[in-house]
Symmetry: D2
Subunit: 346 residues, 4 copies
């Protein structure tokens, strides 16, 4: 009898889907199975990346003994597929935004859609394990967080819970992402010639990830400045976050607040004083790297948080959630050290 769990991946040719295949290939307890779907353009995998393929439909999931399904699909596909995946008795981890928000009105405002199965919104666990681990363990439907929210939520939630911050001036999150965050579908926006050597802001003050950030940080919209920007590189998100402390605090005080929450977290790395994360350090890893600088006298704090948008910002965190859901060790398949290539001087 095989002890390997068969795990389905819908949308396996997108960047997040391909990253799921990459990670699961190295996972000790899992065999990835590609779920073919007519609504998804199923291209060819890299040489040697062969895997079993079955139709993406209830009967096939049952017949093939699929234990969990990753939906690396669009919001539309996810909203419609999640219900019957769950009905088939299969756990579901959705990488789209389909189950991240709680109110149908938010889907109308931010995504311009009427939600196809609002009854599931209350049941979905928000898959940020560092804060909602226990809920994820008992939920059959996990909404995998957005890439931008993952970094900023991990960077500021401890400070907000601990009431370290002065909320009056608000929080500024200046976010920069590599191009893979925009998906694999060709468009002028992601054309090489438009991106290389360029840098640009988009969705200023009305990015779809804002409501997700507000939920988790408990901020009001007027307290948050969030700007998304496109970096001329493949993968990685770096967010520079500007806050003020409520009173004069030293670096060590903020460090203590972070350690309270992250001391034993395998995927959050706190940088020592005087060092800041960069993208090289996290590319290919499931880590969220956090560093910060404090000017006690003026109460100014600058926080830098970095993740790989395809790993901790998508496929890696999804596997972390699957591990929790299925009772595997939380870090299984996720301790790859990345591919830095450069010895950065952190």
């Amino acid at each position: 009898m095989s002890r390997t769990a068969r795990i389905g991946i819908a949308g396996f040719t997108g960047y997040s889907g391909a990253e799921l295949v990459r990670i699961l290939k190295g996972h000790p307890f899992v065999e990835p199975v590609l779920l073919e779907h007519r609504a998804v353009s199923d291209g060819e995998l890299p040489l040697g990346e062969d895997a079993a393929r079955i139709p993406f439909e209830p009967q096939a999931l049952r017949d093939e003994g699929i234990r969990a399904v990753f939906l690396a699909t669009s919001l539309d596909v996810s909203m419609n597929a999640a219900p019957w995946v769950l009905e088939a008795g299969v756990g579901c981890i959705d990488l789209s935004a389909a189950f991240r928000l709680r109110a149908v009105s938010d889907y109308r405002r931010w995504y311009g859609v009427e939600h196809a199965c609002p009854e599931l919104l209350a049941d979905a666990a928000y898959g940020l394990p560092e804060f909602f681990r226990e809920v994820v363990k008992i939920s059959s439907l996990v909404a995998n967080p957005g890439c931008y929210p993952t970094a900023v939520n991990l960077a500021v939630r401890p400070l907000i819970i601990e009431a370290v911050l002065d909320r009056a001036p608000g929080i500024v999150c200046d976010a920069k992402s590599g191009v893979s965050g925009a998906g694999r579908k060709p468009s002028l926006k992601t054309h090489y010639c438009e991106v290389t050597g360029n840098f640009s802001a988009y969705s200023v003050l009305d990015h779809r990830h804002v409501p997700e950030i507000l939920y988790t940080t408990d901020l009001d919209e007027h307290e948050l400045f969030f700007t998304a920007q496109l970096l001329p590189l493949h993968r990685g998100i770096l967010e520079t976050i500007y806050v003020r402390t409520a009173e004069q605090l030293e670096w060590a005080d903020l460090r203590a607040a972070y350690e309270k929450y992250y001391r034993d977290e395998p995927f959050v790395r706190l940088y020592p004083e005087g060092r800041m994360p960069d993208l090289r350090g996290i590319q290919g890893t499931n880590s969220c790297d956090i560093g910060f600088r404090v000017d006690p006298e003026t109460r100014r704090v600058v926080i830098v948080a970095a993740i790989d948008n395809l790993v901790k910002g998508a496929a890696g965190q999804a596997v972390q959630n699957m591990n929790l859901q299925l009772g595997f060790p939380e870090t299984a398949g996720l301790l790859n050290g990345g591919l830095t290539g450069a010895v950065s001087s952190v």
Copy 2:
């Protein structure tokens, strides 16, 4: 009799110096002359970029009829060379920080040096023509502004003068620069393999350009968050600036404040509502492109300002100052449209 003014360039093999050569080659009233200096590593120019070379010393400047000298040299070289250039009766435009600040104490704090000729600090014009044009015209010594300060100063000074802003929460300037801003001297920081695919913050809360920004914007240090970051690209600075208005204002109100100062400025381009500048639009040009988004209800404003760090942030602005100093049309040699290559969809 030739009507062409001979203009000297010291430090012509650095990136700013080479850009000066490029611009002056296309200037209708000027002939560039390369000033050779033992303290500067004088490499070879690109094929076909020949120009006269003379020693960088007083007698040669006089003998060769040099009308003005650009110092594209380090702060140390500039502090020591500027006095004798001026004594030789030759106008001086310095691209280093040697004459940008007013107090010797600032040089001690931010640059760790004792100023070599403090007596010149009061005489130097701060060469941001959009605000100090008349002073530049009558000054023999011009301190060409830093690249970061040029963009943020142009972006916020009108709003500060017009008292549009709420100063209480302070101003956040999240700045990103291409690698040429770090100079041509090889270092691990500018090694291709360390930069490509990477993005990082540096000098967080204590960048040397801070005092220059404070001078021009009239902000106090506690009112400014400034972060410099390194983009994996050759040239261009984009700054994302976060402010709140003192009262509820519409986009058109801020536009009016900008137009009051920039309506006739040849090198400031205000973007229409709904569009934001990117780096492609300004690479190779002397423009500062400014766009912004306003959320009247919450008084949040996000401003995006973009310049080419080697042109409006260095050599182009220096030529603009030279034009003012020597009585040429201010735009002479500076109307090149850049080399966008991509048709961005602004």
Copy 3:
């Protein structure tokens, strides 16, 4: 009376079309006019790049006094538009392959199409001015050469005419191009994430530019190895060409053969011994830079030729042809020195 010639550009939002607009904006004798065509996706130009727009149809060309038309369109559009442009009495410079080949059978084999107006093939001048200048001057239809053929033809044609080469082993042309050569239409092939950090060969041994190279070099197909490859950069073609001389020759002998043809050519730069062209040197310019190394004893020669695929490989050479056609100085609008930014050590 205005002395400015109005010149139409069809396909002005593609990369070659946008480059035509850029060049013509700086041309002293010309005013660009944008020709709007339903078959072409007419996007927005960069800020400030406004120009007159008229419909792309015979009556409008006549009414607006258009003197020449650039077709920066696909082969299909060009084949069908060129006849009526000529009938309207307007000169036509076509940047597609529609009129480069002489035989309808070649269009069948290499492009898989039946030519729409084979009667024009004999009349079209092949617009490589360095060799066919006099024909261009008297032709109303000019077929602007392909980007790859321009570089290799300029690099080897003098050596072939002068019978310097040993043809037995054949000629190897290993060509590399920036992504703008693939056009502006989004596709997975030009998606940023697929290109950045990558390098790949395509159309090995059956690239469509092969017949054009064979025509001009007078080689037989079995004598030519041609490989096209995609570089992770925006603009520029570099070709590394491997030949053997028929007898033992020195570097100076080959230089003499080149000088015989290029001594007075404004857009061919021969590199001195020991130096090789790179892409930085030609980006933004209309130059073809040629360097070579000779090993007399073994008769091995390596030639490196570099052009900007959007300038000498497309829009720049097209303007050079227009200058010849309309009797302007051949270099008008084309002496811009590029935007090197880097001081390469050639």
Copy 4:
């Protein structure tokens, strides 16, 4: 008793050295130990990449029970260190060129040095396991092959041994490498601004890797054209190789020749007909990917071979050699699938 072998790395802060650390951290039978040496600039490792550090000297190697030493050092350091490493009874895998060539005259001609320990040249195994596996197993000194030679040797040696090729016209190897191949020491050549958007050839017809290629392929110098070129990317080598077959052969005939040698090789991947390797497919892996196109009628063959210069071209192949030397499974620590990120359509 620990079963983990302690393995020393000298030069651990260079790119090859850092890659050795990365690979050995994931190796199941090995613990990396950093060897500190005053002649090598020992920087800081990435966050979390801590490892034991001992002095690089004979006594320490013995005291600490080091089983093998990687010399990721310069030719000079390697020539002088290898003898005493061997005398200390420790296996030595040298990543420099110090022991790759057989004749002291070759070191004089190609490297301009007098070899410091010529007596070891005859004893060193050339560590290309696909052809010299059995020698490596019994050699205490292994000369790890150069990056360029590894790819071309694997691509053509089967065809040469099998006498498939027509040697008369010679073999052209047009090689392109990412910047990490130039090492981590800062220089103008590797400055970001000089490399990005650029492409250039160097050491044309006299690259130091030529003698190594000649040894392994058994070609004479006049039969080989080899050109090295610098790609604007971090890691990867792609070589485009042009040959003619001695008689008319089909694709399947060449495939058979390759399969004879590579059928069971874990690190050579032969591409199916119609597909060519690119760099994305091999980055981070120890594979050499080989594809080719044949035109039987004209006997032209184009071969494309790709490796990661830091893995199969340096650290990975070195670990492969260590595995052979120490009796570990040859693939131990080397089956990581890379970090493609993009789903290339091979």
